[in-house]
Amino acid sequence: MAAVEATVGPARPRRGSRGGAFAILFAPVSLLIVLFLVPMLLMVQVSTLVDPFDPSSGSTLQHFANVLTDPLNRKIAVTTFLIASTAMVLMLAVAIPLASFMVFRAGKWELPLLLALVVADELNPIVRIWAWRMILGRQGIVNWFLQTTRITDAPVEWLIFTPFAVIVVLSAGYLTYTTIPIYAAMKAINPALFEASVDLGAGWWIRTRKILIPLAAPGIFVAMILVYVPMLTDFVSPDLVAGTGSTMLGQRVTQLILEGADWGNGSALTFVLLVATVLLSLLAFRLARLNRIQT
């Protein structure tokens, strides 16, 4: 008797499919609507209220105008993009070789490395960021090392509470989510392609540039989607290791809403961030799709 083939694909429709689906999905969908969609809508509403605390106070777009024209916000936005982009580039510079190593050269170390990446990510993020403070701080490990080895006399100032610190912390924090999609994409590449290219005379550089990267590109795009947006809105990392010159958008929102009780501008800024991140995600998704190869 022939082995039964696994059927992979969309589930076959069942009798009375509408009814069954409705029954099962009613609770989750209702919860999503009540606890997810409604708050979003309420936030949008608040951002258009004249008095954010009084829903009957009429509509206005003033908050949006404030938020979008405030030079401080502009500056913070630019800083945020620069920091996030730098961190992104840095992570790609590490993740791509790392993923490549894991897939092609690691052998028995491939799985432990993957495990290490996953486990590292499940540890408490606050704790991890705090640990970086101990490393980069004025009395931290790095400075201690530099001073005891007489490389410097005084603590290096720019290690902490500067954009540098934020970039390091962000990069370390999001490295796992950057590496894993790239790793998955590379794993799907047919290894015979590399042999074929070697047979035709390709050296290491050509193999990487013309075979590895183009075929891993969809994974690289997915990584960027997964990571760039959270970095833009991250407020914990900068809050713990950034200085006043490296404030990021997430912090600004928190400042407005929690410290300033400025719900109008705060919610407007949040909404702007929401729209921006959705657009970015869609764009990146599009690019990833376009790059997908029909094998």
Binding site: V4, A27, P28, P39, F104, A172, L273
Partner: protein
């Protein structure tokens, strides 16, 4: 093997290759030659660097948690466990820990149930609007937590809603953000599941419920369990959502956050963090073991019964 060939030059010559000593299937290792340039040492260095980035900070934390000094740095002032004692005597920390545990132990089962239900609903039925619902379910995973947290805060404190912030609001919003993760994990497993096994069971007389209990659930149990552990850890670790929806109370991450910003007795943070991290590592390791255990056992649909009759 004698040299030379049987048959004419240019013709389709056949010569049986001499059977070598090995009859077993030999899979040759990848034939691409290793570059002489990048040495074994260079690669090992790279890997060590990556591991250092991932775990170094944590190791520092652990080391300093035993350092008998209030300054969180070298030089080493002696071994002590007093920070651990202080940690467990700190009432604020105890409350925060308790809150975290309570919240995560409520959130995880809720996510399990809702997430698994959703996974079933999305993979086993076909209906119009399925794509839209799937999108809705995936949305909390895609949108930034900052946005979700702020929106939740504004909604709860909105005049029309006027809910006090506390652990219940934390639970509510965390569940919404986490159950899609469980859905994703379980759906992936359901996707791979061979429906024919189910139909075979029905054919043999099982009721729908029995099919569920005896055929489907055992198959997805590891994925569900793994999802539960991830949900537990995620909830415990969660900062953003909790931060905005908890009001004046604290969970463990929030306690760490406020302590390192304002307070003095920082080594306590190291001590308790070490403990928590160890527990989490063990939990995650168990979860991954669970996921792999089933992954290898039986591929869906493979006929594992002994062959009958002529091949």
């Amino acid at each position: 093997m004698d040299g030379g060939l049987a048959g004419g030059e240019g013709g389709l010559v056949a010569e049986a290759a001499r059977p070598a000593g090995a009859r077993a299937a030999v899979s040759a290792p990848a034939g691409v030659r290793v570059r002489r340039g990048v040495t074994l040492g260079g690669r090992a260095l790279f890997i060590l660097a990556v591991l250092a980035i991932l775990f170094g900070p944590l190791l520092i934390l652990v080391v300093f948690s035993f350092n008998d000094s209030t300054i969180l740095s070298f030089p080493w002032a002696g071994f002590t466990t007093r920070w651990y004692r202080q940690a467990f005597e700190d009432p604020q920390l105890r409350t925060a820990l308790l809150n975290s545990i309570v919240v995560s132990f409520i959130v995880a089962p809720l996510c399990l149930v809702i997430g698994t239900l959703t996974a079933f609903g999305l993979t086993r039925f076909r209906f119009r609007g399925r794509g839209a619902i799937a999108g809705l379910v995936g949305a909390p995973l895609v949108l930034p937590w900052l946005v979700i947290g702020i929106a939740a805060l504004l909604a709860y404190r909105h005049q029309w809603v006027d809910l006090d912030l506390g652990l219940n609001t934390v639970v509510a919003t965390q569940v919404i953000c986490t159950f899609p993760l469980v859905t994703a994990i379980v759906a992936a497993q359901l996707f791979r599941f061979d429906r024919l096994q189910e139909e075979a069971a029905v054919d043999l007389g099982c009721s729908r419920l029995q099919v569920l209990r005896h055929v489907i659930l055992p198959h997805i149990a590891p994925a569900v369990a793994a999802g539960a552990i991830f949900a537990l850890t995620w909830s415990f670790n969660n900062f953003e959502i909790s931060f905005f929806t908890i009001g004046f109370q604290q969970t463990f991450p929030i306690w760490v956050y406020s302590t390192v910003r304002d307070s003095e007795h920082l080594p306590v943070v190291n001590a308790i963090s070490t403990v928590i991290s160890v527990v989490q590592v063990l939990l995650i390791w168990a979860a991954l073991k669970l996921m792999r255990a089933r992954g290898g056992a039986t591929a869906p649909g493979v006929d594992t019964r002994p062959a009958r009759g002529a091949a």
